[in-house]
C-alpha cells in the first residue's frame, strides 16, 4: 500500500485536531502504537473519520485494527510529532 504523505494544508487540518489531545513532550517518549492508541481513544468519532479519511481515503472496508495499524505507520512517516511542534511554533495552538 502506498503511504499517504500529507501536503501542507492537509497537515495543518490534521494538526488542528490532534494538537488538542497530544502533549508533544510527553508523546516523544511513547512508541508509535501507544501514541496512536492514545489519540484515537481521545478524539471524537467525527474527528476519527476526518483523520482516517485524510490518511487512508475510503476506509469503510477496513476493520478498526487495520485502521489503527495503518494510521500508526502513516503518522510515523509524516513525522506527526514534528508537525504538532511546528503547528505550535506557527502560532495556531495559542
Amino acid at each position: 500500500m502506498e503511504y499517504k504523505i500529507l501536503n501542507f494544508p492537509e497537515a495543518l487540518k490534521i494538526a488542528s485536531i490532534l494538537a488538542k489531545h497530544v502533549d508533544v513532550q510527553e508523546a516523544r517518549g511513547m512508541e508509535g502504537w501507544e501514541l496512536s492508541s492514545k489519540i484515537f481513544s481521545s478524539i471524537s468519532s467525527d474527528e476519527v473519520a476526518i483523520v482516517a479519511r485524510a490518511f487512508l481515503g475510503d476506509f469503510r472496508q477496513m476493520n478498526s485494527e487495520e485502521i489503527l495499524k495503518l494510521c500508526t505507520d502513516i503518522m510515523e512517516r509524516n513525522n506527526i510529532l514534528d508537525l504538532l511542534e511546528a503547528y505550535t511554533v506557527m502560532g495556531f495552538s495559542q
Partner: protein, 221 residues
C-alpha cells in the same frame, strides 16, 4: 549571505537573501500569515507561505499541493532565516506598542516608509535604496532615529517646558524628555547584592504579612 539550495520534490530550489525592496514585500506577506493564524484560515496561511517562499527564491515551477508538508515547512523556515537581520539591533527590541493598525497604514506601505526615510535623509535614488542590504537599512534607520531623538532632546532642553515647577520643593526641576524603550538603560540580569549595616536594619519583631493570620486564643491574644 550566500544563497541556499534545498530540494523540493527532488528539484533544486535556490533561496536568496533579498535586498530592501524585496524584503519589504516579505514583511507584507508575513502580515497576511499573521492574519491567517488569528482566524485559523489554513488555506490562506498555505497560500501566503508559498508566496513567501516563491518571493525569496529563484523561479521554479512547483505544484505546491503535491509537496510534503515538512519540505514546505523547511523551505519557509530557511527563507525566513536567510532574510532576517544578522545583527541584534536595539531598535528592533523594546516594548511592542499597540499593534492596532493606524489610519494611514495600508498594504505595501513598508517600501514607501523606507524610501521616504533614506531619500529624505541622504538624498538617495529609488534604485540605490532598493538595493540596500537589510542589515545596512536597519542600522541606518537606528542611527537616523538616534540623531532625531538627540536633536529633540537638545531643543527640548532649551525650552521652559523641560523645567516644570515642583510644588513640593518650590523649585523648577529638569524633567528629561522620554526616550523610546530601545534607548532605555539595560536592566541587569542579576541585581548587585547591596550589603547594609546591621544598625540600619529594621529593629524589633518583624511581622511577615504574607503568612496566614495566627488564630487568637480565648483571651483575644
Amino acid at each position: 549571505m550566500d544563497n541556499i539550495k534545498i530540494k523540493i520534490l527532488g528539484n533544486e530550489l535556490i533561496l536568496m537573501r533579498l535586498t530592501l525592496k524585496g524584503w519589504t514585500a516579505l514583511e507584507g506577506i508575513k502580515k497576511g500569515m499573521d492574519d491567517a493564524v488569528s482566524t485559523k484560515d489554513f488555506d490562506n496561511y498555505f497560500i501566503h507561505t508559498v508566496r513567501f517562499i516563491e518571493t525569496a527564491s529563484l523561479p521554479l515551477e512547483i505544484d505546491w499541493e503535491k509537496v510534503p508538508w515538512y519540505e514546505v515547512a523547511y523551505a519557509y523556515s530557511t527563507a525566513v532565516k536567510l532574510n532576517t537581520p544578522t545583527i541584534e539591533f536595539p531598535i528592533l527590541k523594546g516594548n511592542k506598542e499597540d499593534n492596532k493598525r493606524a489610519p494611514w497604514e495600508y498594504d505595501g506601505r513598508a517600501w514607501f516608509f523606507w524610501l521616504n526615510l533614506f531619500a529624505g535623509n541622504y538624498g538617495w535614488t529609488e534604485d540605490k535604496i532598493a538595493e540596500l542590504d537589510i542589515d545596512t537599512a536597519i542600522g541606518l534607520y537606528q542611527e537616523i532615529s538616534l540623531d532625531d531623538q538627540l536633536d529633540k532632546e537638545w531643543e527640548y532642553g532649551l525650552s521652559e517646558i523641560s523645567y516644570p515647577y515642583n510644588s513640593s520643593t518650590k523649585k523648577q526641576e529638569f524633567k528629561p524628555l522620554q526616550r523610546p524603550a530601545w534607548m532605555s538603560p539595560l536592566i541587569p540580569k542579576q541585581l548587585p547584592i547591596v550589603r547594609m549595616r546591621k544598625d540600619m536594619m529594621p529593629q524589633g519583631n518583624i511581622v511577615d504579612l504574607s503568612l496566614e493570620p495566627i488564630k487568637s486564643n480565648k483571651h483575644g491574644i
